[in-house]
Structures are given as C-alpha cells and as structure tokens.
Amino acid sequence: MTQFVVKPGVKNLHHEGEKMITTHCCYCGMQCGMHIRVNERTGKVVGVEPRYDWPVTMGKMCPKGVTAYQTVDHPERITKPLIKKNGEFVESSWEEALDLIEKNFKEIQNKHGKNALSVFGGVSMTNEKCYLVGKYARIALGTRYVDYNGRFCMSSAAGGFMKTLGIDRGSTLPWPELEHTDCFFMAGSNTAECHPTTIQWLWRARDKGAKMIVADPRETPTARIADVHLDLKAGTDSALANGMMHLLIKEGYVDYEYVNERCNNFSELKEAVEEFTPEYTSKITGVSIEKLIKAAHIFGRSPRSVVMFARGVEQQSKGVDNVCLYTSMALLRGQIGKFASGVATFTGQGNGQGGREHGQKADALPGYRKIDNPDHVKYVSNVWGIDPSDMPEAGVSAYEMFDEIQAGKIKAMHVICSNPAVSAPNNHYIWDGFNKLDFMVVSDFFLSETAEFADVVLPATTWAEDEGTTTNLEGRVIRIRKVKDPIGEAKTDWEIMQLIAERMGKGKFFPYKNVPEIYEEFRLASKGGKADYYGITYEKIEKNDGVFWPCPSEDHPGTPTMFQESFGTPDGRANLAAVKWQEPAEEPTDEYPHTLTTGRVVFHYLSGTQTRRTQFLMEKCPEPYVEMHPNLAAYYAISDGNNVYLETKRGSMTVKARITKAIRQDHVFIPYHWGKELSVNKLTNPALDPTSRMPEFKVCAVKLMKA
C-alpha cells in the first residue's frame, strides 16, 4: 500500500531528508486530508504539508489541524504505565499494571457480579478500535455497561435521523456538492469555528448567489455572513422549525408530489404547526417576525437547499425532536435524496459517525444492529464465536452510568479515549462518581483530568502511531495511515484491550496480529446491517478517495447520496415530525435570570486534552471567558476583562468577561475546553433527552455578578 498518496500534477514541497505520509487530521469530523512530514533519520514527526488533492478539504486546515502533529512527539506524553501508590502516580511495567487490573477486575466481578465493571469509550478513534470497545466490554469483561462520549456529541442526531429517515448517516449528500446548493439553513452550528474547512464550500456556493440562513443566539463568524441571522433564544429550536414549516405550508412552498409519495404524517405535521404563526414563533424564540418571514421565503424559493445543524440543536433535552423537525423542513421542500440538497449534521468528533455505528453504544451492535433484537444478537454472536445467550443485555447511557456508580452497581470503570471529567455535564457529580469507584483504569496518551482519578493509567498511542479507518461527517470511510512507531512503551488501544482480554481468559476471541485483521472481522460484523461496510476494502478507499457506506459488496461503488429511491424506514417512507412546543428543562427565574450556553472555540478540541498542550493554540486562547452583551455587562457594572462570578443550581465559576454585541442580551456564553476550576460543565444541566439520553449542555439558567 502506498504511504504518500498524491494525484498526478499536484505539487507538494518535499524537504530533503524527509518523507511524507498521507493521512487525515485527528480532530473533528471533517477529517481534513494532510501529509505528515517525518524526518527519515530520526523517525520523528516534524511538520505538516497540505493535501491539496483531498476532494473534501482541498488542502485547507484550521489551526488545530496545522498543529495536530505536535502532540505526537510531545514531551508530556505518557510513555509507561502509571500506577497510583499512596496518591501518587508511579511508573511501572506493563506486567505489573496488567496484574493489578486482572486482580481487581476479577475480584470485583466475583464479589459484585459481571456487571460491576463498565467501559466508557470514545469516538476519536478508528472504526477498528471503536468496534473493538463494544466487543471488549461484552466479551472480555462480560458486562452490559458500555457506552461512549458520543452521547455528549452525536446521539440526538442519530436518534432524530433514525426516527425520521430510518438510517442515521450524518449527511445525505457528499460535501463537494455543497458548491451547487442555492440555500443553506444552518441551525446551532458555528461552522466557521468548529468545522472551519467547510466554509470554503459555502463560499463557493455564495459566490454563485447562494443564500445562508443561520439560527444561533450568537452572531458567530458563521452567522456574521448570513443573509438572515435568526438570533433565537437557546433551546427554542423546535418552535423555530415549527414556525418555518408553518410558513412553508402557508406560502405554498411545500413539494406536495414528494411529500405524498415519500412521507408519512403530513396531516399530523400540518396540524401541529398550525399554531406556530410568525407572531407566536417570534414570542417564543425572540426572533423578529420580519426575519422569520424573510428566512421562510428564501428557504422556500430555493430550488436546492441543505438543512444543516450541529450541537446547538442536539445538546438539548429535546434534541431528537429538534433534529426530526429540522429534517422535516428539508422533507417538506422535497430535498432529501437529490443532487446538492438534503440534510446534514456536523459530526463533532473525528470518528463520531463511524464510532457510533458499531456497537460502542449501550444498546447497539456492529452495523447499527440493536442488542434487543434476537436476530441481530444471533448474527453478531456468530461472527464473534459466542453463544447468543452470552451476549449481555443493553446497558445505560454515558451520564446514567454515573447514576449506576452512585447506586453502587458499577464498581470499576475502564475509560478509553475520553475525558468525561471535563466533557460530561454537572462535573461535581462525575468527579464524585470517579471517587466512589473501587477501581478505575484510563487509557490515554496524556494525563487527562479523568486520568488523574485513575488507579492505573495505560499509555495509549496517538492517531499517528496506528493505522485504520475512520468515517468522516459525510459518511465517507477513509484511511488513517501509520506515520511512526509508538513512543516509549505506549501501546495501541486495540493491543491494550487484547492484553486485558487475555488476562480475563478471553484471549481467543481477540486473536488479532494487526489492524487489517480487525478490519476484516469488523467488515463481516457490519455486513447486512444498516451501516454496511462489507464492500469497503483499504485498497478501494485508496483508489476512490474514500468509500461512502452503505457498501454491501466489493463491486458496489458505495452510496454518496442517500435515500434517492426510498428511506430506511420499514415502509420506505420518511416520518414527518409533529411536535408540540416544550420549554427547555431550565428556564430563567428571578434567582437565575439569564441563560448560559456553551460551545467551542476554533483553537480547541473537546476537553482540550490535546489542544491545551499545543503551544500555538494556547497562545491564542489560554483560558475560558464569558462572552456577554454590553447592555448586560453595563447592568452589572462589568467592563471588558473584569472577573465575573457565575452560578447555576449545580456549580459556580469565575472567568474574565469579553464584551461583544455579537450575542443576545439575555445570554452569556462560555467555551468548555478546560478542566477543574475552569470547567463550565460544573454549571451545565444534565437534563437528558428521553430518546437519545443526551444532556442539555446548551441551555441552563444562570446568575452572575462582578467578582
């Protein structure tokens, strides 16, 4: 297989004494193409070169992508297993660490039963590893308790797409088609900061006259260029979408031929949106009537439109409803399954798409199979070589695992590729949960805030030290190549799971010698499922610039555009959403009079474990801040740079003020990438969506004062 992939005629700068290895960024779902520069003599990673011919990103990168390679040979990498002795981490051998894990895992299971162990996974890993996390939990440890950080990130989109379209593929169209779209309706996505390399496609379309409608409480760098900025109150997306559909129906913008032929529930939807007149919608959302009407006309009159959304609408206690409603907007216009139009969510984590499809979720098995479906269990058991009766039942969602810890049911946890001590809502509860555990193992390559709670920390590899595949935000399966050998004694996550499986006497189920062997088994495990990867091979990915799932056989070209003929529901028709207005779990009160919303900045990724260790990114954004409107600041006599004390029912923090008119007067915003005293998730609300079990990070009531 080729290490350096480049198309004829594309020029890159080759430095003497260096080789280039083609791969993708380790951060968000864009999975930007890049070549990593390696010094041939020392074998060290020395830099990055744009991959001009990667069709999704064309060599573009954000500052995180440019500096991503700097975490690989970083001085703070954990290079040996660490064991906590008398409250201090001490370097140890793998033998000693594994002995300790085996002893504790076995003791705990003997005393409290199989389900006393739990696994908390993540999706910033390759498909091969994400697939293995589910298998590791269910076979090696034999526990039902496995879930992953996608619950904080993607699960509402997944739930909404499943309900409406029958299949959860993040984007129904390939990204390069965005260039030909006439209108983008974007809700709760600060694309310019969170998925910056998408902006090039939006501008290409805008240069030809395309319009942009952005719904966001803040005038983000994305909303700034919108034709209409719907500055809604956080947590009112369902009202906004209903209001838009009310206008689409009233103004005659519905594609009735498409709706009659391909959708269910239109009459229910029509009835549900009846009350959402512009006046009523405006009252709930705080958006002016003129803007609502203008947005509906632009969206309704666009021949080709894409509805896009992200965490802003998903991280709510009604995230699934929001996704269903926004998706219904695209359906009413007859857009899904056609060229340059459709619906898309911006996957937050690198492999947020692939990682959620293959059994890392409490109730899911590979290929988007369900653990409560006996046929699905039978198929996967067959691939794994176990008796179907040995398959544990469904577990609980990520945040609810901490309820189980508090209830004394979960006694030990293995955290893989995640940092819930920062990224989970209601931090104090999470920290208390970690302290209550009898035994905790963390696999990571930096000593994250979560790792600090652990009894044993196992040194994992970075993305550049292992190979595999990921699935980007389009649903395109792509190749991650190994750039160099692991640093120190670090091992890949799959090797770590394999070693522990051996210690638990389940080694024969994990016989892999290399990643392609895992991939072969994984292809088979996904075969026939909704997310079918069976026809995707490493060679095909390399040849075709990635392959879109579903791809059921090796001669199948993959599926760039979804739902061209029918939807993934049992009757092949999409289910339009009929949803009543429901308030966010927490509304402003006299005591907590303002709304706090959280999000990302362009310089950091998730809990910041990697980006807070990158010099350039820390120079540009060293600490969190609270963004507030000058009128709100004036009310509390706060000037730019003053310390502000913020408090919710769950916690408090003090941060510096940044005053800008680019936010609603009744809202404040704090980015969430920092841990401990700087973590805004001490304040956020863990109210869960009833379907996706995703917490409401985006809305809570807050009080504030000058500190």
Binding site: G209, P303, D640, R658, A662
Partner: protein
C-alpha cells in the same frame, strides 16, 4: 512567478490557521509573519488577515541602512539577511502596513517572504494553502482580475447603475444559480 496573493477580507473567519501554518514554513523558525486582527470585537466578530504587500519599491528595504532586505527577481521582498541586519528596526517603522516584526532576542527583523521556498516552485504559500475560507488565495493574475469584476457584478441588476442613495434596491431579493 505568475501568481499573486489575493485577499478577501470579508471571508476571514478569524481562525488564525494562516498564522499556525506560517510557523510551519521552512526557514520561518516557528515564528509567524502574518497578522489576523479584529476590526472591533465589541461590534462584531469580523476579522481580517494582513500579509506583506511585497511592494514594488518597498519602504522597508529603502530605509534599511545596511541593505539587508533583498528583493528576488520575482519581486518577493525577503526577511533581512542575517549577516547584514544590524537590528536598527528602521524597517518596522518604515513599513506603512506595519508588517516587519522584530525578534528582540536574536536582535533581527523577520517578515513574510511569501514562503519563497514554496512559491519559487509555484507551490502556494502555507497561509494561502490552509486558509479554510479562501480569504487568502494564491492565484493567477487573470483569475484575480476576474474575481474583482465578479464580486461587483453579483450585487447588481443588469443594465442599471446604482447610486449611493439607492444601491440596496439593486441587490436582488433572491437569485439562485439553478432557478428555472
């Protein structure tokens, strides 16, 4: 070198990828030579990138008493030559755009050289390569001129000319590329 740098300030999203990428260029010693500034953070999140204009008759070179700032045959204004620079900082004051930076530890100036090691091979500079919104581009002169005309044409209705007072009437309410 047939290509030129083209900046479209409105597109800048303030991500500073250009600055991170600038550090990556060979010979840039991990120091960025370009700028991204807010217009007025209190008012809006609008930012703009700023690079060396590669002036035809550069003030920085003119005011250099040591003749340390060389101009290549393609017209790229390079950083001061290490052996010649006397650290007087005249260039940093002389440049009307405030481009040259000064390294007080090394006592020498450094500035954007349009990634000369790349551009001399017609490979785009790092900043233009990575800019996610194409606010910074490295394109043919022809293409640049075409873009300039296109930008204005997009905002006009054919055959009429707006004046200062009524120009917004000429911005169409909606026009799609594929409208039939």
């Amino acid at each position: 070198m047939k290509k030129v740098m083209y900046l479209e300030f409105e597109r800048c999203i303030g991500c500073r990828a250009c600055q991170a990428a600038c550090r990556e260029c060979g010979g840039h010693d991990m120091k960025e030579r370009n700028y991204v500034e807010y217009i007025d953070f209190t008012e809006s999140r609008q930012t703009f990138p700023m690079l060396c204009m590669q002036c035809k008759d550069p003030a920085c070179a003119k005011v250099c008493p040591a003749n340390a700032i060389q101009i290549t045959e393609e017209g790229v204004v390079l950083s001061a030559m290490e052996e010649k620079c006397i650290g007087c900082r005249n260039c940093t004051f002389g440049c009307p755009f405030g481009i040259p930076k000064f390294d007080f530890e090394e006592n020498k100036m450094y500035k954007c050289d349009m990634c000369y090691d790349r551009t001399k091979h017609e490979i785009a500079p790092m900043c233009a390569s990575v800019c996610p919104s194409d606010a910074i581009r490295f394109i043919d002169h022809e293409e640049m001129m075409e873009l300039r005309r296109k930008r204005t044409q997009m905002n006009l209705i054919e055959g009429k000319k707006p004046s200062e007072n009524d120009k917004w009437q000429y911005v169409p309410e909606f026009f799609g590329v594929y409208s039939d």
